[in-house]
Symmetry: C2
Subunit: 363 residues, 2 copies
Amino acid sequence: MVYKIVMAGGKGERLWPLSRRKRPKQMLSIFSKQPMIKETYNRVEAIFQHGPVWVITGKEHLTQIKKSLPKAKNLRVIAEPVGRNTAACIGLAAILIEYDDPNGIMVALPSDHYIEDGPKFKNALIEAVAQADHFNSIVTIGIWPTYPSTGYGYLELGSRVGYGHVERSCRVYAIEKFIEKPTYEAAQGFLKSGKFLWNSGIFVWRVSRILDEIKQHIPALYAGLQKIKKHIGTSTFSNTLEKAYKTLPNISIDYGVMERCRESFTVIGNFRWSDVGAWASLEDIFSIDREGNVVVGPAILSKTRNSIIFSDSKKGVIGIHGLDNVVVVKSGEEVLVCRKDKSQEVKELIAKLSRDKKFSHLT
Amino acid sequence: MVYKIVMAGGKGERLWPLSRRKRPKQMLSIFSKQPMIKETYNRVEAIFQHGPVWVITGKEHLTQIKKSLPKAKNLRVIAEPVGRNTAACIGLAAILIEYDDPNGIMVALPSDHYIEDGPKFKNALIEAVAQADHFNSIVTIGIWPTYPSTGYGYLELGSRVGYGHVERSCRVYAIEKFIEKPTYEAAQGFLKSGKFLWNSGIFVWRVSRILDEIKQHIPALYAGLQKIKKHIGTSTFSNTLEKAYKTLPNISIDYGVMERCRESFTVIGNFRWSDVGAWASLEDIFSIDREGNVVVGPAILSKTRNSIIFSDSKKGVIGIHGLDNVVVVKSGEEVLVCRKDKSQEVKELIAKLSRDKKFSHLT
């Protein structure tokens, strides 16, 4: 059985003022009228129609997330008492699935990424499940890079091992090496070589296999999970989870397992993808006009180039004159104006807003 | 008798989105809770308490302007059928005053300038009235320049003729020459020399004298005014005004009379003044913080310098990160973001908005 894990623990404060503490990135409707988490749910549910979908989120967002998802028999929403990064999130999902089905295959996806839906995404996932199922592999989906991003992690391709039984383009490769956010020059080299993919953060593996890896590489996490596991299906589960979860190590699955494990594989994804990590990411997704601008919502630009303008309101207008390389975002009564190539730094502004009594409720 | 003329025909579209077609610059409350036209009225009414105030405005703003002014016995509001620049406006005021009092002294002021209120302004005006009264002079108020503005007109000082009987600093000089918007280098030279003032657009003269000057230098305007004059006090006045006014030459009093007349004088004004001609003018008036920013309204700035942030709402917040030399203005649902040194060019943006069916109602 394929178990779908939608990881919805993110805050996404770099998309302020659209994202807020009470409206994290996965709740935003940027690319359609639906929140990204619902798009994620629909996308994966359409591919693997049998078996449950687990949505793991922070307890502060539980009600809101439940509301935005369809009432489905197979949907289970789990609240993390505190955020403890992706290794703990995946570990928790793994022990819960293991309880029912130790041989279950887990497909874990971030809830707040942009993915071009269609057969390319479907085929890549099916290929990854086949690889994990037949060879008990640790599998990730890699994305053909389209520009030398310095914001993404990269995978270096080793030898082709794969199967490719779904589609010729969905080849499977051994991963030679993980490279975190490279310099621009290095990223240019990666692109030229044709031997590097972006790491999409989508993982596929058997639950028993990932728990083995966690045991080996993050023993403290494994020990904590074992404590929680004993209480699954009993009345003491939520209390134990509450207490034990906060003691789990705060580490990503990439650092904790992927970079340490002996052998892992990637399926080449040919679909358009973005982690929507900052406002500048909108250039990866929306069409860019002749002046290099991305405009979403009512706006008028004059003598303006290479900028991103976004409004979530149909009312009013944003007027821009004589600028280059800026991001302007309007949401409700809040406005962000930022240098585009500094849009990752919006969190600095949010930190400042949070410290200000007058404005902290607006973050 | 001193007749106060408040010239309120301006559009002030360079202050969009605060200014709109239906809310011209003189109606804006930027420096206090009162619209600028009311501040102008109060300022001049407090100095010359006897005698009427004439407010000349466009007929489209008549109701609104009347509403914003106190109901005073001596207030007369005149609607220009169409805007025909300051020479026609002053000429119209002159024939109306002449009808009652040919020896009346006219003090004509723009309704939409920032003026630092206080004894310095009062003394300069009284000095100018004394000069116009005793010597039948053409008088303007000049402003000590505080920086090499390239947006203002300058007056070159000739010999001191003055009276200075009100205050020592209120000296009167003959005007040697008028210089329209100079280059930055020229403006720097003007400042250094100490022999140049900014032309404030405040004029003082006897009505008979200015009508003589108009007769001599703008004969077409004079002829038109004579036609209108015949109907003052009769039932045909408004019809005649409607028909004749649009045929009057469209010329400023500066070009039409001041630069052509044989002899004119200036009283040195030591008060802070700005024509608030564009958003960048706010730097002349509001205090500038250590990073060079002017912030009016709720805003948080990080790594931002030399910028102007203005909101007329107490709600929400404007967040700015990583920028230099920008203007950000929020008013209602509209937002302007503009390079500060291009803030004069906002009219290009307004032209674009006006041509767009979706947005023309927002200009």
